[in-house]
Symmetry: C2
């Protein structure tokens, strides 16, 4: 018998932001595995489920929990905030899956913060865009710098994840300085804190102002492209460029 | 009284791929406006709604329909496939909104093809990625080339929208040739046709094989980064890089 495990992106956090498929999978599960904050977001609706969690950075252990619960005969869902793929657990689950030959992994996608945050600010990601994390936990900082420079030079709009952490509060400032090598200081930018959760806050500002903000790790940052403008208080990237 | 219009991303196409919020908004609407294919995807569930559409490339007219229906006192939802923002109608709606002072536009985000397609192939977009459209209808081809080169040089994974059209069947081949300037021909790539719809088809292949495929406009293409591998038949991008 196949031991099926669903890796489920639950979207920004509210029940309404989840897809119907994600809800159906969670309702059918016996066990839900996840980071404690995300399990808490699921709320009363799933109070009858067995909930298992591990602390931050213990992701591999969390994945193994999921496989082991499935091996016991449970229907298992491993939850991620946003999408299951984008900086999510899908990759790690597939990498470990080989050790559990009876296991079958299925990904249930969800709305990642680039999309949910963009909807709050207006339409910053209408055209080509790059998604970049400023976390150097698993990525050399030099590569992050290279990607910021490449995205700026090629006029991509950007969604920036993990703009700050307790250990590295200065990452956003360093990233903005790199962007400012190519992009003018008055470029339209924005950020959204706690998307879809209590205390949600959206801010529009210039790139040179963004440089001096101290943001927390629950924030997603948006950098406009050269066509992005503020229209009636919204951050709007045009659908295209003027073609002669 | 404010004339509220929701711009709703309906996800890949099936009812289950929509967020709960999108469903609630559509159920409360009197009028649903959209491209005919997307209205058809909504199916029987919304058979009691007034449905209005315009043909392809008549997007501005479609937006004005939405504003005018709202002005008549109707609750209006304008639907987009995938997300409402990513190559969607949110930007155009906000740009026109100034002409309808009583109107208020709200965006309901959805799962864009980069995410839903990725979930079918495995986890190709785990790490930083770029989303690029090969349509040169509103974008100079030179800029598309520049973005492809930038993304390849900085080792972004990529999701490529509009890889082909009837008028420009050779766009994908030209794009692959640009990527092949920097990336080895054996780079792991994949594509998904008709994501979440009838006739869905997922393919994994090498970049030099992708170059010679003729794909249709209902296909999303994925280019791995240097860490992407095929593991147990899935396209998997690692969560990070080896750091000394």
């Amino acid at each position: 018998m196949s031991e099926k495990i669903y890796v489920v992106g639950i979207g920004p956090g509210s029940r309404e932001g989840m897809t119907l498929e994600a809800q159906q999978v969670l309702h059918r599960a016996d066990v839900i595995v996840g980071y404690p904050v995300y399990l808490a977001l699921l709320g009363e609706e799933y109070a009858d489920k067995k909930m298992l969690s591990t602390p931050m950075r213990r992701e591999e252990e969390r994945c193994r929990m999921a496989f082991e619960e499935a091996h016991k005969g449970n229907r298992v869902a491993l939850v991620c905030s946003g999408d299951a793929g984008v900086y999510g657990m899908a990759s790690l689950m597939y990498s470990i899956a080989g050790e559990y030959p009876a296991a079958e992994v299925e990904i249930i996608c969800g709305v990642t913060a680039a999309l949910s945050g963009a909807a709050r600010l207006g339409a910053p990601l209408t055209h080509d865009f790059a998604v970049i994390s400023l976390s150097d936990l698993l990525t050399p900082w030099e590569l992050i710098e290279k990607r910021l420079r490449a995205a700026a030079t090629a006029d991509f709009a950007m969604a920036i994840y993990n703009p700050a952490s307790h250990k590295r509060p200065e990452h956003l400032k360093r990233a903005c300085d790199i962007l400012l090598e190519t992009i003018d200081g008055n470029r339209v930018c924005g950020y959204v804190e706690n998307i879809g959760r209590q205390g949600e806050k959206s801010v529009l500002l210039r790139l040179d102002e963004l440089r001096n903000r101290e943001l927390n790790m629950f924030t997603t940052v948006f950098i406009g492209n050269s066509s992005t403008a503020i229209i009636n208080g919204k951050m709007i990237t045009k659908r295209g460029y003027h073609i002669e």
